[in-house]
């Protein structure tokens, strides 16, 4: 991985983490206040409800537009048809943002 890609990967994680922390503080999800890659988000027994996921996705897309200058739709057909949901954890969602940010045009 070159330096630019590594930087984008780190920024993607930071955007997702920041949005998760804001959600956690607003909605009272104590398990999400210190997110790491393995932090569960959506789809298992732990994590957030579907309405919170809706808000989180919208928040992340908006932050990506603002901070990366890229119009990204996270819930696209490819993401939604994956065998393993990209919304499972902070890490998988960060990876999805990194992929989309790497391929999208400003």
């Amino acid at each position: 991985m070159n330096e630019a890609m590594a930087d984008l990967k780190q920024r993607s994680f930071e955007i997702v983490s920041k949005a998760v922390v804001e959600l956690a503080e607003d909605m009272g999800f104590p398990a999400l206040v210190s997110p790491v890659d393995a932090t569960p988000l959506f789809g298992g027994d732990d994590g957030i409800d579907s309405l919170s996921l809706v808000r989180l996705v919208a928040d992340i897309e908006r932050a990506a537009e603002r901070e990366l200058g890229k119009a990204i739709v996270l819930a696209d057909e490819r993401a939604m048809s994956r065998r393993n949901s990209p919304f499972r954890t902070v890490g998988t969602l960060s990876e999805l943002l990194y992929e989309r940010a790497g391929e999208s045009h400003a």
Binding site: V54, A58, D59, R62, E65
Partner: protein, 233 residues
């Protein structure tokens, strides 16, 4: 802060009327159509050349509005097309074209604008239905079906977005003299108007009146509704 209103399909007809209507109320208005805006662009109006069925173009437009004005309060999902023909004589490409604009276009505008409205936890979305759906008008199978889909979308979206204080309603106009119905024979139009409780052609102001009601800040307990004009139900 004035309301920021996004109206699709603003080049002519009802959409064009609504641009002036909401500008006169002091709103900032953005709109789109596939072709450039006709005539001089009014002050406080911002036009985008975008096809509502083009997902990428709609995303770019909504985000541009959001960035430029710091948010979005009202979406009027006006863009629509019709084709009147017996279903046996209707090519599949016509069906796809009608659904692309009326259903998919309405959906993507609704989805993107809902995202733009969520941070402020406030929004008003008005979709366009038609009396052709409850009247089951012959010759309008595809158009009526596409607008039936819009009604269903309106009801479900109302529930899904209620938590964000975003209301979603629909107005169902009777025939109004626009390009959509210019080719309909007078005899057929008279018969259609004869089915209404109030037997006259609709006017742009009738539609604006219902939209005004839906987008009013006082209408925060009104969602998931379709109001037909002319006494159709």
């Amino acid at each position: 802060m004035p309301d920021v209103v996004l109206i699709t399909g603003t080049r002519k007809g009802i959409g064009r009327y609504l641009v002036d209507h909401y500008l006169a109320k002091g709103c900032v208005v953005a709109g789109c159509s596939r072709e450039p805006f006709e005539g001089p662009v009014p002050e406080n109006y911002f036009h985008f050349i975008a096809d509502v069925s083009d997902e990428r173009a709609m995303i770019a437009m909504v985000r541009s509005v959001q960035q430029q004005f710091g948010g979005l309060t009202v979406l009027v999902n006006n863009a629509g097309i019709a084709a009147m023909n017996h279903l046996v004589l209707t090519p599949m490409t016509t069906v796809q074209r009608i659904f692309a604009t009326n259903v998919f276009g309405t959906f993507v505008a609704l989805r993107e604008c809902a995202k733009a409205m969520m941070p402020a936890r406030y929004g008003r979305i008005v979709n366009f239905a038609t009396v052709a759906t409850p009247l089951n008008l012959e010759g309008e199978a595809c158009y009526a079906a596409s607008k039936a889909a819009v009604e269903s979308l309106t009801r479900v979206a109302a529930r899904e977005l209620a938590a964000f204080n975003i209301t979603v309603n629909a107005v169902g106009p009777t025939p109004v003299m626009t390009d959509l119905i210019r080719t309909v024979p007078k005899k057929k139009m008279d018969a259609l108007i004869g089915t209404q409780a109030i037997r006259r052609m609709g006017e742009h102001r009738d539609i604006a009146n219902v939209i005004d009601f839906f987008v009013s800040r006082d209408s925060d307990f009104i969602t998931g509704q379709t109001i037909y004009l002319g006494g159709i139900n």
